[in-house]
Symmetry: C2
Subunit: 162 residues, 2 copies
DNA sequence: CCTATATATCTTGACGTCGAAGTAATGCGA
DNA sequence: TCGCATTACTTCGACGTCAAGATATATAGG
């Protein structure tokens, strides 16, 4: 019995009038998400990064050459507030991992690009990251992984269309 | 195609040498967890609470009468750092929702209990919370919910035993 | 009994995040 | 063309969280 089941049992005992089915899903998603964070943060730390920095570098890298996006595009892609993105870019700029230049097409906008150092680093980090993630799902069969992915995708789609 | 699939496709294009299967699961868990947070926070806010406060009140309530646990037990049950728990208790004490008394069995320890006001409030909040969670999984059939719960539980158990 | 180690919880400084506000530039409609 | 609304990003204050450190108490072993 996992800990979430223990919690659900407590609620069933204390408030038998409540249907805690959804709490099982929501609780386990939250708990699993939390459980995944620590090992990933540990991997980032090996390269002098954290999740916040990795998020930006990875977004630029997967965007493909010239690995360059506006601050606003980065903010939307990573789903954080604008102040958060400014903070992230500031720190990566100080680290020499990204450059910030004015956008010739819009004077309000900045273009954020990977520096050669940033590019080299993220290419290393993402390999370690992917290996860490593979470890995290090791206890599931390939079929279970596919099922879980599909169900999670369905849950996400249902949320995003409501 | 959900956004995570878009990200996976980007990585497949940019780094075809990497197996991004796990990233699908981990990415969707994270994203779903994030997507669940906002609606729940909104519900808590209707009662003047946030997730941090709700967490403590709910833990005390589901523990059953006398709705009383040590700070350390609360910290372990909610998986936060000790400073975090102190901060949460401080604020709830100010709000008059919990009381803090010394533990007669151990002078280092404090007992945190729901006040009558806290008890009344959490009983209301948990009803709204459960309803909000039900809304969040509405796009899934009962069978899908059961499957998802089982797979998430398996993923959690695998992590916790490694 | 005494001493060393472990434990309970608070304090503290640092950090990342949020939403609101501010400033400058762009887009749209009259 | 001009004025207003919208947009892009930075700044700022508040907040919750973390890990490390501090202090007092409990436990274990000699």
């Amino acid at each position: 019995m996992d800990h979430v089941e223990f919690i659900l049992d407590q609620w069933r005992r204390e408030r038998p009038d409540l249907d805690v089915t959804a709490m099982g899903v929501v609780g386990r998603v939250g708990r699993l998400s939390l459980a995944y964070l620590k090992p990933m943060e540990k991997t980032f730390a090996r390269f002098g990064l954290n999740a916040a920095k990795f998020d930006v570098l990875a977004t630029l890298r997967r965007a493909g050459a010239p690995h360059c996006l506006s601050a606003g595009a980065l903010m939307k892609a990573t789903m954080v507030a604008s102040g958060t993105m400014t903070n992230r870019i500031d720190r990566l700029e100080v680290d020499g991992l990204v450059s910030r230049t004015t956008n010739p097409e819009d004077s309000r906008s900045f273009l954020i690009a990977l520096t050669p150092e940033g590019r080299a680093l993220i290419d290393q980090v993402v390999e370690a990251h992917v290996a860490t993630q593979a470890d995290l799902i090791e206890g599931l069969s390939a079929e279970e992984v596919a099922q879980l992915s599909a169900l999670l995708a369905k849950a996400l789609n249902a949320l995003e269309s409501s």
